[in-house]
Symmetry: C2
Subunit: 253 residues, 2 copies
């Protein structure tokens, strides 16, 4: 396939289309205020291939390209905290901050489950504060927790799994998190959606087929079968063959 000249990122929808300015995709995003006093406004951001895969050998990092990476940073600049599950940290090295060291960095929130949390090995050091969330009953060896990390124990809904409504309430009330960006993994996304704790989903569709790699952006069975959830399409951006979709979730009352 001949290489096509690279065009500027575009906002395709809503109409009229326009070129995205120098701040890049989502660089000028305005997020609503939280709809509830009990939790932050919660965004999930993921990248997937056209065939719906969200990881290659457990890692999401190779799926999107530089434009996706920039859009991800733009989303981070719009929130007070960025959260990932420990499984995502086990899969690959992560930097949950912004590139510009002079920017106000979002709080990095790592949610432990029942497995190890290789914070020292996998979280790339930056100037941002790190909050390690440990569900009650889980055991984390002290020597794996880097100096400077704050540890917050929260109630567990089931052993090894944080009570998410409680966690979000604490993030809001005690840590001033008005807007929270969640970057996976699929099990955490799943739990947040199932518990009606997600306001928007940002999905980058990388122009690739990755078949054979089984991870989707949401993983795990629902505790109880439920109806499909409708999403409202808020925007579509493109950059060459890559698409950036923004959806709003309808949450049950």
């Amino acid at each position: 396939m001949p290489e096509r000249p690279s065009g500027p990122p575009l906002r395709l929808y809503p109409l009229p289309p326009r070129e995205v300015g120098e701040n890049g995709i989502y660089g000028d995003l305005e997020l609503p205020a939280p709809g509830s006093p009990a939790r932050p406004y919660v965004l999930i951001n993921m990248v997937a291939s056209v065939d719906g895969r969200a990881s290659v050998a457990g890692k999401a990092s190779g799926i999107g390209d530089e434009t996706d990476r920039r859009a991800m940073r733009a989303l981070r600049s719009r929130v007070d905290a960025v959260m990932v599950g420990a499984g995502t940290l086990r899969a690959e090295k992560l930097n949950l901050g912004l590139d510009d060291p002079d920017s106000r960095q979002p709080l990095a929130v790592i949610l432990a489950g029942s497995g190890p949390v290789p914070l020292a090995d996998r979280l790339v050091e930056s100037s941002q504060d790190t909050l390690l969330i440990i569900p009650s009953g889980s055991i984390i060896p002290q020597e794996t927790i880097p100096t400077g990390t704050k540890v917050l124990c929260v109630p567990a809904s089931i052993p090894g799994r944080a009570d998410l409504p409680e966690l979000l309430e604490i993030l809001r009330s005690d840590h001033g998190v008005e807007r929270l960006l969640v970057e996976g993994g699929p099990s955490l996304n799943r739990a947040l959606i199932d518990e009606n704790l997600t306001d928007e989903i940002f999905l980058t569709i990388a122009p690739k087929l990755l078949s054979g790699h089984e991870c989707a952006i949401v993983r795990g069975d629902s505790p109880a079968p439920h109806e499909p959830r409708h999403l409202e399409l808020l925007s579509v951006h493109s950059a060459d063959d890559e698409l950036f979709l923004r959806y709003r979730l309808e949450n049950h009352p």
Copy 2:
């Protein structure tokens, strides 16, 4: 979420955007001629949810809406044959034809594997011709094959699995199939992509989360690990919150 007024389908990309005419999405689609004399030009058309699921309880039919159904019919009107794997037939009742009985109907091609092929129960009768493909070595009881069905035996690559290049060559040379639309299931999609027998992928993204249902648009492990396949984005259409993406595959020489 308040119901928004339904807008006309739009072509968002390539620019400039425009309303889709009365023929609907893909109603005016022009498909290239086959690039090889050895097979038809092959399209895969699938619908998936935002979280990458392509079926609910094995069925794809409930995922897209009426606009998607219409786009699917438009694609069928542009090809000489529509093919599905027998597993898709086992999952649900299918009509592989066009709604207008006066239209030239595409040939319905059902690809048997090693399981049963419930043609009489599941293929909705229409005025179209039906071709049942049986890989050599597979056994199909005669009483399950409806009167009027043509049966074509083809070589098997492995027991129970048709030799796809051979099958496509026969469809082209003996049945005049210049353009073939494949509507799944995920294992057949997968095999066609892996064997470099796919030219385009049409993907409808339904504005839904269907988590818990595990089927993606492509399923199964590759015979050998291979590199991600790049796709070129050809067009983006929207109809309310639903998106219609068209991609071209780069095939290895």
